[in-house]
Amino acid sequence: MSHAMDVLPYAVAAWLFAVGLYGIASSRNLIHLVGCLSVCQSATYALLLGLGYRWGSVAPIFYDHPPGTPAVDPVVQALVLTDIVVGATLTALLLVLTVQVYKRGGSLDPETLRPMRGGRTPDSAPTSGSKAAP
């Protein structure tokens, strides 16, 4: 059990979040972006389960092993279960939104889809007079 292994799981978690964030920042397709978001989420799985592991322990299910056998942390596993549900719900919702936005905007590229800006008031127009460019 080398020293590198001591932090590898945590480093992998940090890497997954960073690479997912990079994907979101650079994505040109909303469906791809949703995939990147799920990568960010898998960072939390890796971190939590990594924190709850102990060398030489069994799963926290005392069916084949008698109670009292050293087992890994069941709490983080319960947390990750909830997390997976969160991930599935978010993915479903985002994909629905993506499909709907395509039906209206005709594009999946976030660069060409922009939310309503509403324009600015003519009073605050930087150019002279009230002819603000919307």
Binding site: V12, I31, G35, S38, L49, I61, G106
Partner: protein
Amino acid sequence: MSALLAVLFLLTAASGTAVVLVRDPGRQIFAIAANGLVLTLLFTALQAPDVALSELAVGVAAVPLLFLVALMAVRAGRPEAGSGGDEA
């Protein structure tokens, strides 16, 4: 055990990176399913069979399926705004 876990963690990082780098959504679905599979293996190795089973049902089956359906809907659908020149 240590080597196996190290390999699985590195594979997780690699498959996650692949999901980001495969920019074509059609191919990305395979990367997503592969990522789900790697995570399932990792969870099993981390002594979390409950989580692995969930990930198998959700990450390998349900979520890629949703992606696939969304992609099909987008490929087949024509936007109402009447912008011509789309596929299909």
